[in-house]
Each structure stands twice: as C-alpha cells, then as structure tokens.
C-alpha cells in the first residue's frame, strides 16, 4: 500500500523496450500525461536514445530533470530499470526540494558572477591607474625639461639685464631694465610655482627637517617686503610671541615660501593700509609644538563666492573684477598643499572692502637632546674670497650663459676658459689644471653628469679641482644626486652675480 501523499508525488510506468507504455503501475503524479500504448518519449523526451543503451538488469538514474505536465514545469528524479522484456520507470516529483536547490545555485552563481565583474572592474581600474601614473610621470618629465628650457634663457635675460643696470647711466634705460628685471623675476617665480605644484602632486616634494628659527624667518620676510614696498601706502608689521621656542625642527625654505606667498597676496590686493604677520604658540607638548601663523590685511577682501575658490589652482584670473594680477594663480594652492604636507591646517576669513586674514596652524617637533640633526648641506659663506687670477673652466652650451658667466668672473679678475659642451670640457680638463670648474648639467655630446663619471680621465691635472653644477633641475633628489657624483656645489639657474660669486667663494674657502 502506497501512502496517498507519496502517490501524488511519484509515478511508476512500465514500457516495452521501444518505450511504448505498457502499464501505469502506481502513483498519480502527472498521470494524465501518460497513456497506454503511447511512447514514454512524448512526455519524457530525455529518455530517448538513453534507454536504448541502458544495460539489461542495470539501473539508470538522473537527478533534477525538467518535465512538463499541464504546461507546468516539474523537477523530477528519474530511475529506470531494464530487463529482458520491459523497462520500469519511476519518476518522483521533487520540485519542492529543487526549488531551494535552484535558489541556492542561483545565489552561488550570481555571487560568483558579481565577484568576476568586480575583479574585471578592478583590473580596468588598475589599467587606468597605470595610464594615469604614466601620464603623471610624463607630465613631471615635461615640466622638468620645460623648467630647464625656460630657466636657461631666463638666466640670460636676467643676467644681461643686471649687467645693463649696473653699467648704464641713462635713467630711461635704467627704468626699462628695472621693468625687464621685474618681469623676468616674476616669470622665474611662476616657473618655480608650477614646478613646486607638480612635485607636490607627484608626492616628490620632500620637506627638510632641520633646526629653524620661526622668528628669524618672519623678520627676514617682513624686512624684505618693507624694502620692496618702501614708499608705498602699505605698512607691514609683525608680532612674534615670546612663548615660541627659539628653534624647532622644520623646513625654513618652505615656511618662508608659505609666508611670502601670503604676504605677496596681501600686497596684491591692498592698495593702502596695513599688513600684519603674527606668530603665536597654540599648544606646547613635551616633544612638539603647534604654532599659529596669521597674515592679515586691510585690503579689498573677497566675496563668499571668491572665498570658496581661493585655494583652487589657476583661480586668480577668475576673480570677478577686471583686475588681473601677475602670477599663474598657483601661490595659494601651493601654500595649502605645503601646509597640508606639514600636517597643518589653513583657513581664511575675509570681508569685502574690509580685509582678509589667513590663519595657519603648523605642528613642529621640538629640538631635544635625543634628536640628532643631519645637515649635510653647504651654506654660502659670507667671507669674500679673492677670485683674481684664478683659472676657471666654464662649460655651457648656451652662448648667452657663457657670456654672462665670463662677464661676471672677468670682473672679479678670473681667467676664463670656455667649453661649448661636455666633450670639450673633458678635453680641457685632461689638458691643464683649473682652480674651479663651472659645469652646466644639460649639454650636448656629454652631459655634466656623464662628465663627472669620467673623473679618472682628468685626474692628472684636476683630481681635486672643485666642480660646481649649473642647473635648473634643483629638486632635492637632483641636488642629492649631483653631490653624490662629486659636485662641490649646485648653483640654481637663473642665478645672480651675487649667487655665483658667493657660491664660488664658499667652495674655494673650504
């Protein structure tokens, strides 16, 4: 006796060896689909050809087959047994069970496909990241080349302008040259800004960590601006709290750059009134301090809309009035980036026609006895060294740079030999002894760097001759590399007469 519930879920059918239904033995499941003398293959096409090859006295099983009854699909398990004369087929409806199996299977496969999609997207992102990195590297390389290409002629322009200014007595020419020098110096600042920003963006700007005096930095900055704007209607003042440590560890060049950018900005947008630079101690911990800086002006201020854009790159020309100031609009963006690189914060408050205040909070490490400061840098010496009669080899492929260098050193009484490229410089160094060599880095035939790797070839006459690099590539990594190659000093292009002579004196004094 078969229980009713099971009977509703299964059916047993006997067929002859060709599949023709002989009898419906038991069960009511899908009974209406099977008719005596009909082929079983009508309802179960999947059995066709299969039953033919089932061996006599062997069982054949298939799980989760789909059959259709009354236009509805059922998942069934099928068992067939073949003997000499007939085939017994049992079909069990397992739709309820397989419904869950199907759902689990679907979930597993969906999950796997989603995982595949994510992996594919990650692969795409990785590809895009590599492309972006390459583009960024290309940009940095381009900027480095451009920096060199711009700084070289700029060096000539500023050098010649300096020479004309010192030698002319004509007041009109002096006035023209002053304008030329101002424009050239502005251009130099812009080139520097673009390079700084690209280095910051590429994560290649390394901060120094050496003892610095915040007080001295502010005093120097204010003094410079007082001189620069002497006679203007703007007063610049400063206040430095006595609570500040005398020295902290930091990057004096970059702190000075931040303050200079903010002060310059104030001068640009203040026609008359006051600019005040303040520095106070915000917090004082055992090993560190946080210093507040502020630069306030009584200038024309900014609207809330302008304020929103203030730290964005190249936004200066977007200011709503028609007054467009010099520079590329990168100064404040560089300030923000530098402050953040120092783990500090910057904010700005401004009211239209009242003025603007930039406030910075920068943490510094205190100098404790346990901190050893590495400072391998050469400092310009103040002492004057007599350059009269010293033999100098000047190697530079740029004729104007040759002329400026020669002019500056001949004025000091030095004996100059010119080389037009690295190869000519090598020949000179192999031929005779010099007291000093000024070597441009980027030269045809043989670069300055390459020449420094051939020191063995000129050791006979110039094994101890100090060699100074002339270059526009002045990133920390570049300078470090030049020192490693054996350069005694690196002179950054464009240089002034004072820069050149002071550097030479410093090196020769050693």
């Amino acid at each position: 006796m078969i229980p009713v519930k099971i009977e509703e879920r299964f059916i047993q059918i006997n067929t002859d060896l060709s599949g023709s239904i002989l009898e419906i033995v038991a069960g009511t499941f899908a009974e209406q689909e099977f008719t005596i003398n009909d082929s079983i293959y009508k309802t179960c096409p999947f059995l066709e050809t299969t039953l033919d090859v089932v061996n006599i006295n062997e069982t054949f099983n298939i799980d989760s087959m789909v059959i259709v009854s009354q236009e509805q699909e059922f998942y069934v398990d099928v068992e067939a047994f073949k003997n000499e004369n007939s085939i017994s087929i049992i079909i069990i409806n397992r739709s309820n069970v397989y419904q869950y199996v199907k759902q689990l299977n679907q979930n597993r496969n969906d999950l796997s496909i989603v995982k595949h999609k994510i992996a594919r997207q990650n692969k795409e992102l990785e590809k895009l990241r590599k492309i972006a990195d390459l583009a960024n590297e290309e940009k940095s390389r381009f900027l480095a080349v451009m920096s060199h290409e711009i700084r070289n002629p700029l060096n000539s322009i500023l050098g010649y302008a300096d020479m004309i200014a010192s030698e002319t007595t004509n007041p009109l020419v002096k006035d023209y040259v002053r304008s030329l020098l101002t424009a050239g110096k502005n251009l130099n600042v812009i080139v520097g800004d673009v390079l700084d920003l690209s280095r910051i963006e590429a994560g290649k700007l390394n901060l120094a960590n050496e003892p610095i005096s915040i007080k001295k930095i502010i005093e120097n900055r204010v003094k410079n601006y007082k001189l620069k704007y002497n006679g203007s209607k703007i007063q610049i003042n400063y206040f430095i709290s006595d609570e500040l440590p005398k020295k902290v560890l930091g990057d004096s060049v970059r702190i000075a750059q931040i303050l200079s950018n903010l002060i310059s900005n104030s001068f640009k947008f203040t026609e008359q009134g006051n600019i005040t630079v303040k520095s106070e101690l915000a917090t004082d911990e055992k090993k560190s301090v946080i210093v507040n800086f502020s630069v306030s002006d009584t200038g024309r201020g900014m609207s809330p809309d302008q304020l929103k854009k203030i730290f964005k790159e190249y936004e200066q020309t977007e200011l709503s009035d028609s007054l467009v100031h010099g520079g590329a609009g990168l100064g404040l963006s560089i300030v923000k980036n530098l402050v953040e690189l120092m783990h500090g914060k910057i904010s700005v408050e401004s009211k239209l026609n009242i003025g603007t205040t930039f406030t910075l909070q920068i943490p510094f490490q205190k100098i404790t006895s346990s901190i050893k400061v590495k400072d391998g840098k050469l400092k310009y010496g103040k002492e004057k060294y007599d350059l009269n009669g010293i033999k100098v080899l000047l190697a530079d492929d740029d004729k104007m740079n040759q002329a400026i260098g020669s002019h500056l050193l001949e004025k000091e009484g030095s004996d100059i030999t010119i080389a037009n490229d690295g190869l000519e410089a090598l020949l000179q160094l192999k031929k005779k002894a010099f007291d000093l060599v000024l070597l441009d880095i980027n030269m045809p035939n043989m670069s300055g760097e390459k020449l420094m790797t051939q020191k063995e070839l000129f050791k006979k006459y110039n094994s101890k001759t100090p060699i100074l690099a002339l270059t526009g590539n002045t990133s920390k990594d570049d300078v470090k590399r030049y020192f490693t190659l054996g350069f005694s000093w690196v002179i950054s292009k464009p240089y002034t007469a004072e820069d050149l002579v002071t550097a030479i004196c410093s090196v020769l004094k050693k």
Binding site: P45, T49, D52, I62, D63, S64, M65, V66, N105, Q106
Partner: protein
C-alpha cells in the same frame, strides 16, 4: 526518424541555456537563471541531407572540481563545450576539462564554442583567442544571434558521424 542526443557542457553562466533558447525558440533574455540538473529541448534539424531530431541536453553549469554525472552521457552522440569569452576562468583549463569530459563520455569529438562575443572589442577578442590552446569552432553571441545556427548545425553533423 533519426534521433540524436547531444550535450552542452561548460561552466555556469557561459550562456548554454541562452544558446539553446536562441536555437530552439529564437528567443533571448538578459536575465540569468541558472540551470540545475538537466533541461532537454528538441529540435528537428537538417544535416548532411538528412532530417534528424536533435535531443539537446543542456546540462547545469559546473564549477571547479564539480563533475558531470557519467549517466548524463549515456546514449549521446556529440557534445558542445561552451565558454564565456569575457570570463577567463571559463576557459583557463579548457584542455584538461575537455580531456576529462572525453574520458567520462567516451565521445571523441567536441565542438568548442566561445560565447558572448558581443561584449568584446575586436582587439580584446584577438587577445582572448591567443590565450586558448584549443581550436575554437565558433565564436557566438546568443544575444545577437551570431553563429548560433551554424554551431548547432555542426553539432548535428558530428552527431551523425
């Protein structure tokens, strides 16, 4: 009437059911509904100047280390291995997979189908082809109805041999 049983095998989600639906009903759905067990479809086809009834066993897609029950191959005449051109894991170990199925089924010849070509650019397709050590019989798209008919026709011809 000649009746031939043919099987479609390959990883899950490669489009076996979509190929069968396109071939049998000329339908396509973007929805992915995984197959469990076996679904058999039939279609009358003409191959080698003969009309035959093709019993197409669409076997649930497998994952790594999952084996198709040997009983499924009983009485079969040919099989089609389908892989997804956009999913490396569906064709990475294609040779091993085919060898294993050959051993299991006793079948000599498989036809190899790369499906979902509509999702690849020409360059990407060439890249994928270069990664596959087996000869691909047809590159198909069930969605765009590309080469589906031809693939099944070849399968039918092989089933007659």
């Amino acid at each position: 009437m000649i009746v031939k049983k043919v099987l479609l095998v390959g990883s899950f989600g490669v489009g076996k059911t979509s190929l069968v639906r396109r071939f049998v009903n000329n339908e396509f759905s973007e929805d992915y509904i995984s197959t469990i067990g076996v679904r058999v479809s039939t279609k009358m086809v003409q191959a080698n100047k003969q009309v035959l009834k093709l019993l197409i066993w669409d076997i649930a897609g497998t994952e790594k280390n999952e084996r198709i029950p040997k009983a499924y191959f009983l009485g079969s005449s040919a099989a089609m291995f389908v892989f997804d051109l956009t999913r490396e894991e569906t064709y990475l170990n294609i040779t091993e997979y085919i060898d294993e199925i050959k051993e299991l089924s006793g079948l000599d010849k498989f036809i190899v189908i790369g499906n979902k070509v509509d999702l690849l650019s020409t360059t990407e397709l060439e890249e994928v082809k270069s990664l596959i050590p087996e000869e691909i019989d047809f590159i198909t798209s069930a969605k765009k109805d590309e080469n589906v008919e031809d693939a099944f026709k070849l399968l039918a011809e092989i089933s007659l041999k």
